[in-house]
């Protein structure tokens, strides 16, 4: 396989990374809202949060992407397919991350919240300063796994016409008749990216040890 083909794959991998990083980040911000809704004392917020999670966990990402791709123009939003892809991926990962966070939040020791209560913290301050950082620390390994899952699932966005790594490999395989080499190369690139993500996760875990070594 020529270097030229390989560089085309690397170029496409940049889009894969970009899509994944943006979606996982937006998904994280969104997930804390969804998680707050699911754990809310307001019944309507709880129901809305649970519906969101059920839908985006209960239907395939492939179907979600196609739905969003065809739905957005219907409501007057003509966006590039990359944006539709990011919307779909963000919503989907938000549902999963929200469930991961919920597990983390319920593991935050009650006494830490009582101490904050006694110091006069508002509910929001307790969330932001105490519950969120501790829940994130408890859930880093699961969140990193989710990020890796999303990176791999990003191959699905080819159905809405985004030419990312998998789709590029497919196109090149079709035109060069060398599928084995191209898919092996694509697989290798995914593996390398994910090793970096996993390494970053380990670093993050170490940094959030807070004195425990």
């Amino acid at each position: 396989m020529s270097w030229k083909l390989f560089w085309l794959l690397v170029e496409a991998a940049r889009l894969t990374i970009l899509l994944s990083v943006i979606s996982v980040s937006i998904g994280f911000l969104l997930s804390s809202l969804v998680c707050a809704a699911v754990m809310s004392t307001h019944r309507s917020a709880r129901i809305a949060g649970k519906l969101f999670v059920s839908f985006f966990r209960g239907t395939p990402l492939l179907v979600q992407l196609l739905l969003i791709y065809y739905l957005l123009p219907q409501i007057g939003l003509n966006v590039p397919s990359e944006v539709a892809a990011i919307v779909g991926m963000s919503l989907c990962t938000a549902a999963y991350q929200a469930e991961i966070l919920r597990g983390g939040f319920s593991s935050v020791p009650r006494g830490l919240i009582e101490a904050a209560n006694m110091c006069g913290f508002s509910k929001f301050a307790i969330f932001r300063r105490i519950r969120l950082p501790i829940a994130v620390q408890l859930t880093i390994p699961a969140l990193i796994s989710e990020a890796i899952m999303m990176l791999k699932s990003s191959s699905l966005v080819s159905v809405v016409g985004v030419v990312e790594l998998s789709r590029m490999a497919q196109d090149l395989a079709a035109s060069t008749y060398r599928p084995l080499e191209l898919f092996a190369a694509a697989g290798l690139i995914y593996l390398i990216i994910n090793l970096v993500v996993a390494g970053f996760g380990l670093q993050l875990e170490k940094r959030m040890q807070w004195g425990r070594t």
């Binding site: 020791p109 830490l112 009582e114 006694m118 006069g120 913290f121 301050a125 004195g211």
Partner: protein, 264 residues
């Protein structure tokens, strides 16, 4: 105002499901005094303290802090009227609390733990807050541990940071919920020493404790609870001295093995 007790508890009843944990407690804690709540496990002493901190909501009765109603006020016909939470927060700001499990925030250093509420709640500048926090830490003998995380501190050090954290907010009443129960004897000593200093400085303290020696020597008043009822209250020499209440006799017997009774 000055005639009002720091804490006044009136006919307080607390139930957990069908179990009645507090059966109509009346209690007054005078300003500047150290009141020690003692009694066997399950007597309701921690629950009483947690009700006064409003970490638990009592089912009946009233609590006043410095003469102001906490959580519920008495209506015209003696019924309980829930107060708005803003008012409750204002009254609660007079109270500092120290827990059995320390409850330091693990993601903040000792200094961070003491500074946090000053910045987040009191809106102080971080620089000023840290200065105040350092003073508090040095008062409990821990200025050299300011940069350490809770996981890097001994239990006794953690509890002293927790005391500094509560004191930094300048409360007029300090509640202690079995502050030394999860510490070994050596570490217990260093925490009790800090509490002794605090008592001498004139802080109003309500202490749930199993340290009978501390209660006898530092307490201005001893309150003995058993099965949700206040059995005896009085000065240490009245409560512990002979002749004493039969139930206290039994209770103290359990301490004989540990040699604590010799302190009395």
């Amino acid at each position: 105002m000055s005639a009002k007790p720091a804490i006044k508890v009136e006919k307080l009843v607390k139930r957990f499901g069908k179990t009645t944990v507090l059966e109509g407690i009346d209690l007054a804690v005078e300003r500047g005094q150290v009141t020690c709540l003692i009694g066997p496990s399950g007597s309701g002493k921690s629950t009483l303290l947690r009700c006064i901190a409003l970490l638990e909501e009592a089912n009946e009765g009233f609590i006043e802090i410095n003469g102001e109603p906490l959580g519920f006020a008495s209506g015209p016909n003696g019924e309980r009227v829930r107060l708005p939470s803003s008012e409750t927060q204002k009254v609660r700001a007079h109270i500092g609390m120290v827990f059995q499990q320390f409850n330091l925030w693990p993601h903040m250093t000792a200094l961070g733990n003491v500074t946090e509420a000053l910045v987040t709640v009191r809106r102080m500048l971080r620089k000023d807050a840290e200065q105040r926090a350092m003073t508090q830490l040095s008062n409990v003998g821990l200025s050299d541990r300011a940069g350490h995380y809770p996981s890097e501190l001994s239990g006794g050090q953690q509890q002293r940071v927790a005391i500094a954290r509560a004191l930094a907010l300048d409360p007029d009443i300090m509640l202690f919920d079995e502050p030394t129960s999860s510490l070994d004897p050596e570490l217990t000593g260093e925490v009790l020493a800090v509490m002794r200093d605090l008592a001498e400085s004139g802080m109003t303290m309500l202490v749930v404790t199993h340290e009978i020696g501390f209660a006898a020597s530092v307490g201005s008043k001893i309150v003995f609870l058993d099965q949700g009822k206040l059995i005896v209250e009085g000065k240490p020499e009245e409560v512990f001295g002979k002749p004493r209440h039969e139930r206290i006799d039994q209770f103290l017997d359990t301490y004989l093995d540990r040699g604590a009774a010799t302190l009395l």
